[in-house]
């Protein structure tokens, strides 16, 4: 008898839950939010507003709590933690999404080759000292060659060969190289074109120009193996059918170009100077390209001699 009553009560509570399932509830457990989309009951609302709201809130909260307690949990010292699913409703973000970090040249290479990153330990074991020493920095292992008091000097070394200096210079060069690469990576990440890429483009352009700068415009030049054909400009044509507005605009643009100042100048150059003689050209021709001043000097000094020679 006892058992049946307990079972009966259990059945009732279960029944309660399933009743709640049927309502128009929209749950978003990610944001701990429940929306009851049943239209507000006018009669109950008018009867007692606060009581109606509380009743409504209680039902919905029961639903939400039910959903939360049904979620998979992990234990914690404060009690079970319900693992929440990601929210379903879209909320505007506070700030835009973070930009992905630009990979360094090495990181790109490592990713392509599948090289895993490994953490280098800061200390290395020194066999001689029998203790752990820093890999770099104060009393670092990388300065060993500079600090040891005796050095092996190669037989063919110069008189002023300083093994300490050589080791130090090598180390400093490595540091400088690393710094240079870091700056290059930074410059690349910031998106500004680097010097090398500018230079590359310049060289390409020069090469393209020189290839067509021979007498045959590059036609009969010996080609190198693997040399590609120079790519010229691709001709582009406007579509044959255009809107009336576009057509009008292009026609007007053409007309204005026909009547432009530059064109007028080409038609009748130096219209203000009526003489047919181009003075500048004449001087250049007479002085054989040396200019008017040189011509005058020559005329002054060597009048007689010139005449006699002739």
């Amino acid at each position: 008898m006892d058992v049946s009553s307990i079972l009966g009560s259990l059945g009732n509570t279960l029944q309660d839950d399933t009743d709640l399932e049927e309502g128009n509830y929209i749950l978003d457990t990610g944001y701990l939010t429940v929306t009851n989309t049943t239209p507000i009951d006018v009669e109950l609302y008018n009867e007692n507003i606060d009581e109606y709201i509380e009743q409504n809130a209680r039902d919905s909260t029961q639903r939400l709590i039910g959903a939360l307690f049904r979620l998979p949990t992990t234990s914690s010292p404060d009690g079970p933690l319900a693992m929440l699913p990601p929210p379903t409703s879209l909320l505007p973000r506070e700030k835009p999404l973070p930009k992905p970090k630009e990979l360094t040249k090495w990181e790109k290479f490592a990713a392509a080759k599948g090289i895993q990153k490994k953490v280098r330990e800061k200390k290395v074991w020194d066999e001689e000292k029998q203790e752990w020493v820093a890999r770099w920095g104060w009393k670092g292992k990388n300065k060993e060659a500079e600090t040891q008091w005796i050095h092996e000097v190669p037989a063919n070394a110069d008189v002023d060969h300083d093994p300490r200096k050589v080791a130090r210079d090598e180390r400093k060069a490595r540091v400088a190289k690393n710094e240079r690469q870091r700056l290059q990576n930074l410059a690349h990440a910031s998106g500004s074109s680097s010097k090398t890429s500018d230079r590359k483009r310049e060289i390409d352009r020069t090469l393209a120009t020189t290839r067509v700068s021979t007498a045959s415009m590059g036609k009969f030049d010996r080609q190198l193996e693997g040399e590609k054909k120079p790519r010229g400009l691709k001709r582009k044509f406007d579509p044959a059918e255009a809107s009336a507005e576009q057509e009008k605009q292009s026609a007007l643009a053409l007309l204005s170009r026909l009547d432009s100042d530059a064109r007028k100048m080409r038609k009748n150059p130096e219209s203000n100077d009526s003489s047919a003689l181009n003075v500048r050209k004449a001087i250049r021709s007479v002085s054989k390209g040396q200019g008017g001043v040189a011509l005058a000097r020559k005329l002054d000094s060597g009048k007689s001699s010139k005449k006699s020679r002739r």
């Binding site: 009560s9 259990l10 509570t13 279960l14 839950d17 128009n24 929209i26 990610g30 944001y31 701990l32 939010t33 429940v34 929306t35 009851n36 989309t37 049943t38 239209p39 507000i40 009951d41 006018v42 609302y45 507003i49 606060d50 709201i53 509380e54 409504n56 809130a57 209680r58 919905s60 909260t61 029961q62 939400l64 709590i65 039910g66 939360l68 307690f69 049904r70 949990t73 992990t74 914690s76 404060d78 009690g79 079970p80 933690l81 319900a82 693992m83 929440l84 699913p85 990601p86 929210p87 409703s89 879209l90 909320l91 505007p92 973000r93 506070e94 700030k95 835009p96 999404l97 973070p98």
Partner: protein, 350 residues
């Protein structure tokens, strides 16, 4: 605007990094601003809402001349400045004027710019202190309850719901401590007027009398044993209780909204968990190993490579086939499949 200075030491760098955009964002900080005149009701309403919003709340105690709806004024730049300075992306502005008494304005920002604005008028306010009941712990995450069908259908109320979730609870969390749930904030609308129920699009958006009131209530939750795993819920009014009417609003700029709704790409782990796009025939078993099912197409046994012998070469094939064809003509109702049977079987038969 604000100078952006490269951080020069570790502490300022940490502060700088904390303000940078994050994939999973922190809860929004709200600044409570008093307008040129705030009456007793508005001041108290702001205090009560601030108690719910704490610790992500900041109060400006001096009066400020801000009119967020007035585009001609410098209010928008002021708000943007405050937002950048305090790393806050929500504002609650209290302002009481003769034309619009007891006004509360929610302003939401995205990327340092104003996204959308909603203005309310406070009709009735009962503070927390007037309910002689236990209160929730400050900073506890509330549950939210919205009641009305308009929250799914009417644009004004969809915006309102989004704004209030942002205000009270707009933080993505992975887990929540179940015994730690303390209170629920309920937002209920008054019954939908008939003008709204007939046709939503037909109503004049500026006709504010047609819009239902908004009741905001807060309750503490008492969980009682029910005999099952899921406890029974009892609610105790905690306060504050606010009755609000909707006034002006500014809908979000579509471009800005689209930007603000961008989600991060799902991680591989999430996809495996089944959060993202569903991946067919793949599952992670209890040991955490990825297991897949491979479907092999139907095998064509006629193309099976059998033992290589001189006699089985294809040039010996043709005459046999001709013979077979002759044979088949004799036999009625021969199966079509059998024509393609491997050579060796034919040989045996002939």
């Amino acid at each position: 605007m604000l100078r952006t200075v490269k951080p020069r030491n570790a502490r300022s760098k940490r502060a700088f990094v904390a303000r940078q955009p994050k994939e999973v964002e922190d809860p929004r900080t709200c600044i409570f601003v008093k307008g040129t005149h705030t009456g007793e009701i508005v001041t108290q309403a702001m205090k009560e809402l601030m108690a719910l919003k704490r610790p992500n709340a900041l109060a400006f105690n001096k009066k400020n001349e801000v009119r967020p709806f007035d585009t001609a004024s410098t209010s928008e730049t002021t708000l943007e400045f405050w937002s950048a300075k305090n790393d806050a992306s929500l504002f609650l502005i209290g302002q009481s004027t003769k034309k619009r008494p007891n006004g509360l304005t929610f302003v939401r920002m995205f990327d340092g710019r104003v996204l959308d604005i909603i203005e309310f008028g406070v009709e009735k306010l009962v503070g927390m202190a007037e309910f002689k009941t236990p209160k929730c712990t400050p900073g506890n995450k509330p549950l939210l309850h919205f009641a009305s069908d308009l929250f799914e259908t009417h644009p004004r109320f969809i915006q309102l719901k989004s704004m209030l979730i942002s205000f009270f609870n707009g933080e993505t969390i992975e887990s929540i401590c179940l015994p730690g749930i303390e209170h629920v904030i309920s937002i209920t609308l008054s019954p939908t007027p008939t003008t709204l129920t007939t046709d939503v699009t037909d109503t004049n958006p500026e006709d504010l009398t047609s819009l239902p009131k908004v009741h905001i209530r807060a309750y503490t939750i008492k969980l009682k044993a029910s005999g099952t795993r899921i406890p029974k819920v009892g609610l105790v009014p905690m306060g504050p209780s606010l009755d609000l009417v909707l006034r002006r609003h500014q809908a979000p700029d579509p471009d800005l909204l689209k930007q603000s709704l961008r989600r991060p790409k799902l991680k591989k782990q999430d996809v495996e968990k089944g959060v993202g796009k569903k991946r067919k025939n793949m599952e992670v078993d209890e040991m955490g190993d990825l297991r897949g099912r491979v479907h092999v197409g139907k095998q064509d046994l006629s193309k099976l490579q059998t033992r290589k012998m001189k006699g089985l070469k294809s040039r010996f094939d043709e005459e046999d086939v001709e013979e077979m064809d002759v044979d088949q003509e004799d036999v009625e109702g021969m199966d079509v499949d059998q024509e393609d049977t491997p050579l060796q079987t034919k040989k045996q038969r002939t």
